[in-house]
Symmetry: C2
Subunit: 398 residues, 2 copies
């Protein structure tokens, strides 16, 4: 039996569990007699173009397991959309190395990359299984109930807001927490999992799925301060006005090669909103924190469910490509309609996942567009797991 | 035997373990037959002035233990320096309630508050034991080897930077992490505990103890990028120029009643430094995160050593006041000069802790003023504990 070589790489923004998917795929492949060499390309397609590869059969199982539990992308990542010439160059390398299985772990931009490479492979009649392994903290891939990486980032956000809400209780005023999520509000919405008591924050949640107006925001904050004598706000970095212009876009110009404006790695949106509350709501103590990259890379707090599922999507991709000889696809997570949480993994066509994203469904957002519903909390809780409990004095819980 | 009433309150910025000190003091007092009523004043001295008090004998042991493991100040906090009239008003309440033991948990500003109240008590010949119980994530109290709250905040910072450094490895460029610490660099320095391999970040560490110049910073970053092909920077929010003017002070005006300028709750410093690196070092991908309030309030990751010591300073204060009948003081943590980490708790005069702060000693800072020394790492490691291990592929660790 002739063995077929495999290549795997990681792309896009890292997550706390993307290495689980990598290690899941590598260990499944190592155990399969049909697989020959297992290359890891460094920094995504850049590593294929540059032929900077490592031999993933050389790493010990102990190292692989340790890497699986380590946040960020162990092979390095890249934000690069391949051109037609890139694809031709990639094929020259893949042919030379006799790669017959190509796995690319990432979000919708990465699925698009796999899709382009797969179409080029079909056009050139080069037989290669092309698979996208899903990863995104934004939870915005189509076809999936949720995506690996989301549960852990959501857990970070929920923990952070739970602690931050207690901090706000102690010192008062208005606190604004800016959370990642370009087009989808899932991660920001996860802040609501922080709540234990009815008067716990976040008291307001603003998502990119609803138009954001400064006037409405100031009005909401004033009402919350009147009710709770303080206010914690969770707001997505991707909030946009009614014309779809991101609020932050007025303050920054940088864009990547996929045309995405830089939203993260700056405190500008939080500072803008804090200034607005100070000036227009007349509140003195207003603070803003931008959670930034910690949301996707904090070690030691990954959701156990998320880590396990991330491992299993890697395994599922190898099984589909090598055992089932499916020619291409993306692994989707489907939730069973059972009371007890359970999922299945399915292969779906690449084009259905590539490029386009999904958003928070209407039933997850309240009518006023400034909070989440119980349906969202029920959806998200099993993905995030139990949070560290926080307690207050019985005499103060009125 | 006549029982004497006690009052306890929390002040200043919250920490992850300040409730350990509260619960340590309350449980020690509840077990002592000399103590009568145990009042908790809400929001520090404000709660005494307003007579907003709760009865801490009413809370169950189970609730107290749960509160002890909860971040932030369970009684609420305040940033208010009492005036002479405030002190007179406080005495009227203390006398009315027959308070004979007063405990105030907080930093150097809080020690100053206790000191003022104690001097007023002496002047008015009102017999009351006045004790300061130390707390500050800044680790800047005089007389102590380190302060309760620091170890846990340092643990958050070290974990965050360890993950963030892996994120920077994956996508490259320059990452700037802005860390709390008004005048003392201990917490920023703790970022260096993130390192496992020699080429791990943070590659540069800027502390308020050394003058910061934009020119030197740009030069340092360029050199680090040349050496590591990427760069992670840990910088204190309190960095100041050679004249002592905080870099951030040029961008914000807000000050509290102790005359402190607001440094936290804004991303301005990080954004400023990121812009400088982009423009003056010609590096395209530059990101900045400001860790903000998460450093002091994140649930579930407190250092075990810090939590235990925070509990014990609360116990020690009650023992000094009630059992040993010391009239006033602050509890200091002294490290034994033994190889194995161990500490003792001592009562020191309030005036030695009040108002003034301490800074990083020279032997903790490298000659160039842009990094910490091994001596600092040896000092800080036992306070923070083992961090979640992060692993890289053996082939990439060269």
């Amino acid at each position: 039996m002739k063995k077929s070589n495999m290549l795997i790489a990681q792309s896009g923004g890292p997550s706390m569990v993307i290495n689980q998917s990598l290690v899941g795929a590598v260990l499944a492949a190592r155990d399969n007699p049909a697989v020959g060499k297992i290359y890891g390309a460094l920094h995504g397609i850049q590593g294929i173009l540059d032929e900077t590869l490592i031999d993933l059969r050389k790493e010990s199982r102990k190292t692989l397991e340790a890497v699986a539990n380590t946040p960020s992308s162990a092979l390095g990542s890249v934000r690069r959309k391949p051109t037609a010439e890139d694809c031709q160059a990639i094929f020259r390398v893949l042919r030379k190395l006799e790669i017959r299985y190509f796995f690319y772990i990432g979000g919708n931009d990465s699925a698009e990359t796999v899709h382009i490479i797969n179409e080029e492979a079909v056009r050139e009649d080069y037989g290669i299984g092309c698979f996208h392994i899903p990863k995104t903290i934004d939870n915005d891939l189509r076809e999936s109930d949720h995506t690996p990486g989301f549960g852990s980032a959501a857990r970070f956000v929920a923990c952070a807001v739970r602690g931050d809400d207690l901090d706000n209780r102690a010192l008062g005023g208005v606190k604004i927490d800016v959370i990642m999520g370009r087009n989808a509000g899932f991660l920001t919405a996860a802040a609501a999992l922080a709540r234990q008591d009815p008067d716990d924050g976040p008291h307001l949640v603003y998502l990119p799925e609803r138009p954001f107006s400064i006037e409405g925001f100031v009005k909401d904050v004033k009402a919350a301060v009147k009710k709770y004598r303080r206010c914690v706000v969770a707001v997505s970095e991707g909030i946009a006005d009614k014309d779809g212009t991101p609020i932050i876009a007025k303050f920054t110009q940088e864009a990547d090669s996929h045309g995405n404006v830089q939203l993260s790695g700056t405190g500008a949106l939080g500072d803008l909103l804090a200034t607005v509350v100070k000036e227009q709501a007349g509140i003195k103590r207003v603070r803003a924190d931008t959670f930034g990259y910690l949301q996707r890379s904090f070690p030691g707090i990954a959701s156990a469910t998320d880590a396990m599922e991330a491992r299993l999507v890697g395994v599922a991709a190898v099984q589909a490509a090598v055992c089932d000889e499916v020619s291409s696809g993306s692994i989707a997570i489907k939730r069973r309609p059972t009371k007890k949480y359970a999922v299945d993994f399915e292969v779906v066509p690449l084009r259905r996942v590539a490029k386009e994203t999904r958003h928070m469904p209407d039933e997850f957002i309240n009518k006023a567009g400034n909070n989440v519903t119980q349906a969202f909390l029920d959806y998200a809780r099993p993905l995030v797991g139990e949070l560290p409990p926080c307690a207050r004095f019985a005499q103060l819980r009125d």
